[in-house]
Structures are given as C-alpha cells and as structure tokens.
Symmetry: C2
C-alpha cells in the first residue's frame, strides 16, 4: 500500500532487517500492528493498529495515536478518558510491520475501556476439546 509519509518498503531483505532506515511495511489494509506495554513493568496493556497518519502523529507529538478498525477513524487514545499514552520508546520488528510502544499512561488510569489496566484480563482454558474464558485478577 503506497503512502507518502514514510520511506517506501525496502526491496532488500537485509536492509529491512539489519538496516537503520525506518521503512514501515503497512499491510494490505494500510495498517501496522502496535503492541502497547507499560514502560514501568512491561505489562501488556493493549494491541492496536496504526495507519501512516496515526504513526506520523505519534512520532510528531510523542502521544500515541491509532487507527480504530471498528470506527474507521483516527483515534488519539485517551482523548476522551484523559488516559493518554506518552510514548517513552518505540521499537520495530525484523520485517518492520509491527511496532512495540512502551508508554506511560496519564494519571495511571485504566487503559481498557472496561476500566481495567490491561485489555488482556481473561485467560483461555481448554478442557474436553472446548475452550472458555476465566477472568483473571489484575496485577
């Protein structure tokens, strides 16, 4: 997917994996996957997606912006709740199609819209060939 905000994907695999040029590989829907952890303890808070505009705004402002796949709109996380995310470190992976954001959450408020610190509050358990969910206490 073409985008004019970032360097186009590099043709050479070695450059993609070992180079210093940031050339994010947006997927067929124009998105990167973003893994968001708490910078204090690396707790997994949420998974979200960024289009090139969201990534540009994140890099420019230092505040995490995403693309909401359900609402199909740009999303400044925490704009309504106040629990905005300051990005203390951003990493990319070997093929540059995913990002890892280490963030500080404003007010130490909840990240999940259900009021929990992390969106990953349920464990998947399988018994007798059937999987179900168990609520886990938050750290």
């Amino acid at each position: 997917m073409p985008n004019e905000l970032f360097t186009a994907s590099l043709p050479d695999k070695h450059d993609v994996e070992e180079g210093v040029v940031f050339a994010p590989r947006f997927d067929a829907s124009g998105l990167l996957t973003a893994v968001v952890t708490d910078a204090r303890d690396n707790q997994l808070l949420m998974v979200a997606y960024m289009n090139s505009e969201a990534l540009k705004l994140t890099l420019e402002t230092g505040i995490a912006h995403y693309w909401s796949r359900s609402r199909k709109s740009l999303w400044k996380k925490g704009e309504t709740s106040g629990n905005m995310q300051t990005v203390l470190e951003m990493r990319t992976d070997c093929d540059q199609d995913a990002l890892w954001l280490k963030v500080s959450v404003a007010g130490e408020g909840p990240t999940c819209h259900t009021g929990r610190n992390s969106c990953f509050y349920r464990k998947v358990v399988t018994a007798g060939g059937t999987s179900s969910l168990i609520l886990e206490l938050q750290d």
Copy 2:
C-alpha cells in the same frame, strides 16, 4: 468471516467483554493478532497472526501454530529451527480479536529468524522530523 471451528462472534457487547464464552473475532482476512512473550520474564518476543486452523492446532497441541501472511500458509513456529513454542498461558482481550501467548521456547533458542531472542531489536528514533532505527543490545 465465518468459521466453523469456534463459536461465532457474540452479538452482545457485554458477553464479548465480560463473558466466559470464547468467541474469537477473526478480522476481514480471517486472522487474529497474537502477541508472544517469554513466560519467564514477559519479554516481547514476536507478533504473529492466527487463522482458525492455527488457533485450533495451538489449543489442541499446546504448541504455537500461526498463519504466515507472507507465505500464505500454516506455520508451526520452530518446526525447522527446533525452537518451538510451548504455550503456558493464553489470554484474549476485551473484544476477543487479539491473543497473548506466554510461551516457553524449546532449547531457549532464538525466536527471531535473524538469530535474536526477540524480533524487536531496533528502536525508532526521531530527530529533525526524520525517523531512523538504532540497533539495541539484546537483554
């Protein structure tokens, strides 16, 4: 996207977010996003994707299976390298479209095909409006 291996997405938001029924929400490409961390220290190892078959095999065998978006094929991680991932815990998020796998890597070998423990070995740094990458030492 219909799939016959798992419960279809639940119509009620409260059931999706607070219930105990595992009804994974595969995206338009039939995939869930999987965040993979080392169960020992929660280090982020990789991000991958699962279709319903990969998820079924993972739950049945306890060994992580993914869908390779580039090769468009089922992928038993580590089948070639030997560094297979035993899933010690699986979680899902509030809207059930992402998974968190806490794994133990066989032989404590590298997860990344570049030979590193984690695929996230480069930091994105921005200066003067331009972003580039810095190689980080592995933990």
